[in-house]
Symmetry: C2
């Protein structure tokens, strides 16, 4: 675990893009580690509060410059947006210089690795601060061998009918519900935002393809230490034309005891790249359960034990109707964990964990 990352207090850069749909990492930081977000930098929205811009987040200020944020005593600068192409925008370089000069560590989820930038690496070394590239994978990953199936903890992977459909959020909400009731939970973060929130993890979409499963295996083995339940953050979808390889590697590397399926009732086609995938209808929840269970069946039996919906774009009555309908056709617990709470899913996981423990104890 990277203890630095889990203690940093952030000045979050979202220059020109701060908003609920345009700054995923910044928005997730506000949502999931609010106590450690001291200010957001966006000169085009300076003077407002985070609440003004996002609709939540309280009176954390939006500032125009790094210097304006420094009196709040951040310990790190977080790049909270993902510019087109993944590179470092020229406009960011002066901010990074100023932050490093002020003794702030740098945390980045960009595709390009800032630690490999000669100027920034030199400045950081001279000032004695660290550059954390959240998407940079370890250099020594193995090919997975199926060892994650052997952990004592009960392991659960969030899967989805699509990418960008609430797999990380569902996992974190379930984690909170389990933890509140006394279950010891290890959260295996597999994407940059999850790593930022948890303080450790591996961005499995950024590893060399042969090592997707090996990255997942390593995460589960580590998260299982001292845990009753391991929650693995899912990525992509087994039917997404662009990302399915990452998803299957993650499923076969993590070898979960069970899965939670994430779904958005209003979504018709796979997400991404404009309308690039609008030639393909998404499967129904029932079909997707069969696809997920079928994909891991040759390696081990594993079942979908609950459904997590994204319903923010439905009125409450329609959302509750859809939850009841899906619960009826699947026979599984269903909720929107953000809107209606994660307890039904947490309860399904507690029951599964208890059954695994009882089975092992009787062996």
């Amino acid at each position: 675990m990277n203890h630095d990352l889990s203690t940093y207090r952030y000045l979050v850069v979202a220059e020109g893009q701060f908003g609920p749909l345009t700054s995923k990492t910044a928005t997730s930081a506000v949502r999931f580690i609010p106590d450690r977000v001291l200010a957001v930098l966006d000169s085009t929205r300076a003077g407002r509060t985070v609440q003004d811009v996002l609709g939540f987040g309280g009176d954390v200020p939006v500032v125009a410059t790094v210097g304006e944020g420094l009196p709040l005593e951040p310990t790190a600068l977080l790049i909270g947006i993902a510019p087109q192409g993944g590179g470092l925008p020229d406009a960011f370089r002066p901010m990074l210089r100023e932050a490093i000069a002020a003794g702030l560590h740098i945390v980045s989820g960009l595709h390009v690795h800032l630690g490999d930038d000669p100027e920034l690496a030199r400045l950081a070394a001279e000032r004695g601060v660290r550059i954390h590239d959240l998407r940079k994978p370890p250099a020594d990953l193995p090919v997975s061998q199926g060892r994650a199936r052997l952990v004592d903890a009960y392991s659960v992977l969030t899967v989805g009918t699509d990418c960008n459909i609430g797999k990380m959020t569902a996992g974190l909400r379930i984690r909170d519900a389990l933890t509140a009731a006394g279950t010891r939970v290890g959260f295996a973060a597999t994407g940059q935002t999850g790593i930022l929130i948890e303080g450790w993890g591996i961005a499995v979409d950024a590893v060399v393809a042969d090592f997707i499963g090996g990255a997942a295996e390593r995460l589960v083995l580590q998260a299982a230490e001292g845990s009753d339940v391991v929650l693995v953050e899912g990525q992509g979808s087994l039917v997404h034309p662009g990302y399915s390889g990452v998803t299957l590697g993650l499923l076969h590397g993590s070898m979960p005891d069970a899965m939670i399926l994430c779904h958005q009732p209003t979504r018709a086609c796979p997400y991404g790249a404009g309308n690039a995938y609008h030639w393909m209808p998404l499967p129904s929840v029932e079909e997707m359960i069969r696809i997920c269970e079928g994909a891991i069946a040759p390696l081990r039996p594993s079942k979908v034990i609950g459904i997590s919906l994204v319903t923010f774009d439905m009125d409450e009555a329609a959302a509750r109707d859809e939850i009841a309908r899906i619960a009826d056709v699947t026979g599984l617990p269903v909720t929107d964990p953000v809107r209606f709470g994660a307890e039904p899913l947490a309860e399904a996981i507690r029951r599964g964990a208890e059954a695994k423990r009882a089975c092992r104890a009787s062996a």
Copy 2:
């Protein structure tokens, strides 16, 4: 297409490891581009012929030093073995220096990129020779968008119950059979040995995980130009605990019209890493057909249209019995393309290509 690679005449380095099971790339070079293998370097077997060591390959000499091979006038040195760990063995460095000094280009399938080695890069630049790292992916790969489904050519992917089960060999044998009968075939190489043989391609297991499908899509679009049939070299297996992510990404990126399933009747468990996977039985051919067709069904319909067996470890009567049995249970053409010829599979592909052409013409 890299025209250099397709014209090089090789001195093949297999130092200490030349043999049918220990030098996969060297052995494949002898098998598939015999006219361009002038000598094999292995000081522990020097003085013998390739035929002596492999049981095929004729009187191509095994030599002890680079200098001993130079009178045969090779234009490139090929590293034909894959040492543990993928790095460059210390013993190879003097050979590479000597080869570069003699004006030979360098071709390598090692995990480590020789072009990034400061000494070798400098020597090559000074001498005006090229270093080809077969596993180094392009820097500009996209996320796949399913465009490979739109090509006019009939596209076929080799899939398998396991990795290392004849997917490249089946593809090359089928290519030869189709070409001999006048079909224009584009071969999309996806692994280092296929790239060596074809002179172009992308090692899909070496790309960043998000871009597996994008690499496959690009290969199919390129191979389809001027071709009646595209044969895509498969990798891994949808049920292999270590490599399945690469396999699904390749399937969804290549969007094939049809699949050829490769299988070894005597194999019980997934291949690799000693006995690491001996906790898991491989699926039967019938089960694997369902798995492959089911994995692409949400994106498009695509069927397994033939079975390619590896039977070198069965006597001929047993092999013919197994071919007849599998043909009976599947209703598909079945052959061992190395032992009994690829014609039944080529014929199935010709029929499929004709049906696609007729369907398009009537649209």
